[in-house]
């Protein structure tokens, strides 16, 4: 099976990325609905229109990379100091993943058409590594913020948050940075070759 062009590995990956994009959009939509509903219920409880026992349910576990879920324990909907940072972290991760997947789709779209060395592809790769860098830094900032918030208002044991540094992410960012420059140079050489008479 060939790597580029129609009916190639690139076209298969492009289909997978399209499905991933739909799933991510659905997740982002679901997350937005949950966040809006949560905010509305909280405002209604604050205004005294709804009984506070509306948020008594829950008791679920959340799993966020870098956060010890045992330290947080069972999360209840009423624990806004856990729910709000969690929604933020998930929102940023899903949003970032959506940017990465949409740019990867554009990249694989051009790979499928059989023309990998285009100037836009270098830009797509650049956007991907910058997004991944922002997500990685944002993750540390949010974890630190969540820890500080839990220490201030949450139960004492829930402030035990471990921030782990994932070297594979940093390596991916470095590789993408180099690849973006390789594609830029490739596109320049292709342009030059096309304009050599």
């Amino acid at each position: 099976m060939k790597a580029l062009g129609k009916g190639s590995v690139a076209s298969v990956v492009e289909v997978v990325l399209r499905i991933a994009s739909w799933v991510l959009w659905a997740s982002l939509g679901g997350l937005a609905v949950v966040a809006i509903a949560y905010a509305v219920i909280y405002i209604m409880i604050g205004a005294g229109w709804v009984d506070a026992s509306t948020l008594a349910g829950g008791g679920f576990r959340i799993s966020i990379f870098g956060v010890d879920s045992d330290a947080i324990g069972d999360v209840r909907w009423a624990d806004w100091h856990v729910v709000v940072p969690s929604l933020l972290v998930v929102g940023i991760l899903v949003g970032g993943a959506l940017i990465v997947v949409s740019r990867l789709r554009l990249l694989f779209d051009s790979f499928t058409s059989g023309e990998p060395f285009r100037r836009e592809n270098a830009t797509h790769l650049r956007v991907i590594w910058i997004t991944m860098l922002a997500m990685e830094i944002g993750r540390y900032v949010l974890m630190a913020g969540a820890a500080a918030m839990l220490a201030a208002v949450g139960p004492a044991e829930s402030a035990d948050i471990t921030i782990s540094i994932d070297f594979s992410n940093w390596l991916s960012i470095a590789v993408l940075f180099v690849l973006a420059e390789v594609f830029r140079e490739g596109a320049r050489l292709k342009e030059e070759q096309e304009l050599t008479i």
């Binding site: 342009e191 030059e192 304009l195 050599t196 008479i197």
Partner: protein, 82 residues
Amino acid sequence: MAIRVNLDRILLERRMSLTELATQVNLTLANLSILKTGKAKAIRFSTLNKLCRVLQCQPGEILAYEPSDDDALEEAADQAAE
């Protein structure tokens, strides 16, 4: 670009059309047009050889160097790099 292509002047002197030249040097009209309008980034020796043979001229008659502002900027950048 500081390199000017004098193909239109030579063609006028030889009373030859671009299409005729394209046929004789075995190049596409589109490529020859890119060369004539100065949009080309480079020219192969083989192309230059064919052009000189068909037009009965020297490479210096087809190409001419004219210093431009871009050259001054490029020179400054080269000096800064050193």
